[in-house]
Symmetry: C2
Subunit: 447 residues, 2 copies
């Protein structure tokens, strides 16, 4: 592998330029912005690696599929996405989100950590391996979708219509991080999700707030309804919500105990005095990895500009995400939420479901896990952290576990990457190192 590493070192300016060019191109699925341009760009890179590149149409954004068929025994697939989160609030970025900029060793851009950096590191790894050895030691598939950040609503069209393209001995998931102390994280699963909007309606027009004495205020309706959903101890109060949350196995308990979480550093970085409920240690990690959530991602009603406008709003809206774990089913949670609102007198509040995903997990004794952990032990100075599940969500279940394909994730992000938030960034050194490690995994997996 030394030759490959050397090749990567010699070409690192070029590989960095490829990433910068990709990050300069907006690709916001939620706003349908820059999709076609991004597809063309990623397609161009895939075509450097193989002549089997397909643009697979869906009812939404196309999926890019690239296959490198070597005739070898083993087949690995990479799952990634070319779309990114919206960049708002733009005013909190120190440099424009789609004008990538390097400051103090970090490359800042929307999507660079989630997950354009990791996507490009894999393309570069294959490029380097092929350049040095001519051919990969396995068959490889790239599955790159364009709607991950809006909940992969059309990925199931692909999985049901193209089981052949989906099939692999194992999958490497889209992304990953280094922890604050610089250890590579290898994640074996991800949480599920139910994302909804709740809408409350009042009069058919905004009114002078003097009328609020007698006309119902939808913002108050929404506040009262929300207050029934979760209490100040962070307990979600929907009947049956926790029924399918399983207790931790011995193995999960051990992994969680071993998992390093630099609380003090993170708290300082975030400007916080403590975590919710004053949690720390095992209980903190357990809540992050194994507990479901109910989060207000956005709320809006009435006048929110400068000054003291006295208005009674006619509508109010909240965006809620529930991160789901274990056997929780998004469709069932949606029903429980409707029942909960009705039972508490909020039948008037409308639920608009936006997305649903099952949680997913790969067993720790799977050969894939053993091989990747072994490669990481050999490659990095510090031992990797094996994490039972991401705290985040992805369509892993629909693409892998549902078909018996094991999957795990690692990538070039960092605990301080600010995914989904202003000033998203990765370390340039992590990117170059990540290209080398991806090449090593390609080399070791078929052994």
């Amino acid at each position: 592998m030394e030759k490959v590493y050397q090749f990567i070192e010699e070409h690192k300016e070029k590989y960095l330029e490829w990433l910068i060019e990709l990050c300069r191109q907006p690709s916001v699925a939620a706003q349908n912005r820059g999709i076609e341009e991004t597809v063309v760009l990623v397609e161009t890179h895939l075509k450097k690696l193989t002549d089997k590149v397909e643009r697979i149409p869906t009812s939404g954004n196309p999926i890019l599929y690239g296959e490198i068929h070597t005739g070898k025994t083993k087949t690995l697939s990479f799952y990634n996405h070319y779309d990114v989160q919206p960049e708002e609030p733009v005013e909190l970025w120190d440099s424009p989100p789609f004008s990538p900029e390097i400051r103090e060793g970090r490359l800042y851009a929307r999507g660079v950590a989630d997950n354009k950096g990791t996507l490009m590191s894999r393309i570069c790894a294959v490029h380097a391996y092929q350049s040095v050895y001519g051919e990969l030691p396995l068959n490889l598939k790239f599955i790159i979708e364009g709607e991950e950040e809006i909940g992969s609503p059309h990925l199931e069209e692909f999985t049901s219509q193209h089981p052949d393209k989906l099939w692999a001995d194992a999958n490497i998931w889209e992304n990953g991080f280094k922890s604050i102390d610089g250890r590579l994280q290898i994640t074996l699963g991800c949480k599920g999700m139910l994302y909804v909007e709740l809408h409350a309606h009042g009069a058919n027009t905004d009114l002078h707030s003097a009328k609020a004495a007698i006309v119902e205020n939808p913002a108050w309706r929404l506040v009262w309804a929300l207050a029934t959903l979760k209490n100040e101890r962070e307990e979600i109060l929907i009947d049956g919500f926790y029924d399918r949350v399983l207790p931790l196995t011995e193995e999960e308990r051990r992994l969680t105990e071993e998992m390093d979480y630099q609380e003090a550093k993170e708290l300082e970085q975030l400007g916080l005095k403590q975590y919710v409920n004053g949690l720390s240690g095992f209980a903190l990690k357990e809540k992050l990895i194994f507990q479901p959530t109910c989060t207000i991602c956005g709320i809006e009603a009435g006048y929110t500009g400068e000054g003291s406008k006295t208005v009674l709003p006619s509508t109010a809206k909240v965006k809620l995400d529930f991160r789901l774990v274990s056997e929780q089913d998004p469709a069932e949670i949606l029903v429980l939420l409707r029942q909960h609102l009705d039972k508490h007198g909020f039948a008037d509040i409308e639920i608009v479901p936006l997305k649903g995903q099952h949680a997913a997990v790969t067993p720790i004794d799977d050969p894939l896990v053993q091989k990747v952990v072994g490669s990481a032990n050999a490659f990095f100075e510090q031992k990797p952290q094996v994490i039972r599940s991401q705290a985040g969500t992805g369509p892993m279940y629909n693409l892998c576990q549902k078909f018996g394909i094991p999957s795990l994730g690692f990538g070039v992000g960092h605990a301080a990457s600010h995914n989904h938030a202003p000033n998203e960034s990765i370390y340039v050194d992590d990117y170059i190192e990540g290209i080398k490690f991806a090449a090593l995994v390609l080399h070791e997996f078929p052994k």
Copy 2:
């Protein structure tokens, strides 16, 4: 007065044009927009009536003062304002808010009902009276401020520095309406107000919502805090909040019983099935006129655009107005609110006070009330409605009652005017009629 009415009829196109020109000029105090231009415009009109026009500087927007000194015995003052509410949400207007447009007998524009229509009707009334009779039968003062819609924060500079300009036998307040059945409303007071923002703070940056499992969400903090302020029966739960709310006197009870409120029509107009708590009749009117409120005027946190962005917001903000009645003191309510939040575990939530006003009321047996009601009985086909207090708020106490000056309000608006909201409008016929009635009041008051 017939000659004056005839003059007004002959000049109604011109008087309408004056109003349209004034409404075309934005004057949004909350956003400091168009103030100077509006001052110049109103000044020009006042100078047609008198050569004693002064622009009185304050720490905020200037106050326009116009005095017509005739040497007669009685002195009346008009209080009005040249500023308007912000026009947001602009997308809900059927015509641009600052491009006045007449449709089906109604003139649509931001500020036309609150209170540029009434202001201009008084300027026109004086213009017509002087044109016909040469001189007014009393001394008259115009006090026209430019910050009413943001709570008149600098009006007290004027009242303390210019008691001479303030002095009058009686004051006519800025504005008024016709009820849905077309009866002129004469209001003898207004509610007070405390307007605050509550700010909740979380981490120092927006985060991926996966972190919401362990990082406090300021939007949830705000929801929980709000839910402690008012319950679903519309009861405000702050200790001591109602202590200075007085029970209705016999006279107030009688006025309220006599007050016509077209519930069914209004409910239909607003697209509602019922008022809060299912109230109707006396209880409804009593709540509107005599009860304090706590209103969410605006709330905002996190991502509120298209799609399902999964973000944990770093801040959350709500705008609250409390309409105050009787002897409630805004400064005291602010203290009670702070104590309430502290007591319920929300010491972390910041209160930003934006404005405070005392409630105000003029006794029904005051000669001013008797004369204006008498004029209205003679002028309008239907008897006026005397209303104990506006449901809304103004600086009446600071300008009048505090100095022993009686005050009442009437004007050219309508129950369906949509003050402070999209598609604000008045009836053109009400405007012309309002000019005539204002001229009659000038004529009758000194008798």
